[in-house]
């Protein structure tokens, strides 16, 4: 069944239809929320808020447009709102020193280390670039769909994806070099 059809049924009170949409988009919603909030628990809370908000606002969904970007826009808004409301402790911010404390690339490139480096690099990106690169490279949305999610021009999305990729690759370059040396 198409998303628009499920959304119409869910809007009419069909909880099973809403459940199907929830199963389909739970992963994406949680990843987008986590892209913004970093903390997994908070991200899940934001994603949950977003699903409930989406359910209550299904009447405003335009069935002629794809459901995913509409939902993810609500998710991004919920996560950003939560992020702004919470008092950011200084210890939560990633300092440049934290990055240099990561294991050197000449040490074994374990997945855990790579994952840490990726997480730090991602956190160092501006929020909008983080969302743009995740929606493009992870979730496979088009530039236009991401523009709809972020409410910015398509050119801005292209630029955000470009800069985010370049930054992530720079940060992960040592790991790549290490892998190439091993090969």
């Amino acid at each position: 069944m198409e998303d628009a059809e499920l959304a119409a049924l869910a809007h009419a009170g069909d909880r099973h239809a809403f459940g199907q949409l929830l199963w389909k988009y739970a992963g994406q919603a949680r990843r987008v929320a986590r892209t913004i909030l970093i903390d997994e628990t908070e991200a899940d809370d934001a994603a949950q808020d977003a699903f409930l908000a989406a359910l209550k606002n299904l009447g405003r969904y335009d069935p002629d447009r794809p459901f995913g970007p509409w939902l993810l826009r609500i998710v991004a808004n919920a996560a950003t709102d939560r992020h702004r409301r919470r008092k950011v402790r200084s210890t939560e911010q990633i300092s440049p020193q934290a990055r240099s404390a990561l294991p050197r690339p000449d040490q074994a490139a374990e997945w855990g280390e790579f994952r840490d480096a990726l997480e730090v690099a991602l956190q160092e990106l501006p929020e909008r670039r983080r969302i743009a690169v995740v929606l493009f490279d992870v979730e496979g949305y088009s530039h236009q769909e991401i523009a709809d999610v972020l409410d910015v021009p398509v050119g801005t999305v292209r630029s955000d994806v470009f800069h985010a990729r370049r930054k992530l690759r720079e940060a992960l370059g040592p790991w790549r070099s290490a892998e190439e040396e091993i090969v």
Partner: protein
């Protein structure tokens, strides 16, 4: 992560790494949690919201349509019932020969193009 940052296609390697980093562990638990919250919302809440939304959505176009209908009805009543016999339409029927040879509908029905002076006479109302 071997693709160019300029690339317009997904970077599969970077995408998979980010996906592994950002994906939560217990998706089933998350879905069940959200569904439990949804079940706390009374069913009527959604239906009641729908009812109001439908009314709200129809209120403005409904009023406009009613106004247009009233205006149209008044116009028909005033022009039709208020002025006696039914008037001939301005252009008339192009298939019926009109009384006046320079009537616009007659010009359209003619096999040959009309004379420019005839059109100017009609247009400038010089008859």
């Amino acid at each position: 992560m071997t693709g160019s940052p300029f690339g317009h296609e997904q970077d599969q390697e970077l995408g998979e790494a980010l996906k592994a980093l950002l994906s939560g562990d217990d998706e089933v638990g998350f879905v069940q949690r959200v569904l439990a919250r949804v079940s706390e919302i009374p069913n009527g809440f959604v239906l009641r919201l729908t009812w109001w939304e439908v009314l709200g959505a129809w209120a403005r176009p409904g009023l406009v349509a009613a106004g247009l209908g009233l205006a149209l009805g008044a116009t028909i009543w005033l022009s039709g019932f208020g002025s006696g016999p039914v008037q001939t339409t301005v252009l008339g029927d192009p298939l019926e020969p009109p009384d006046d040879s320079v009537f616009p509908a007659a010009l359209l029905a003619q096999g040959e193009p009309p004379d420019l002076n005839e059109i100017l006479v009609i247009g400038l109302d010089l008859r």
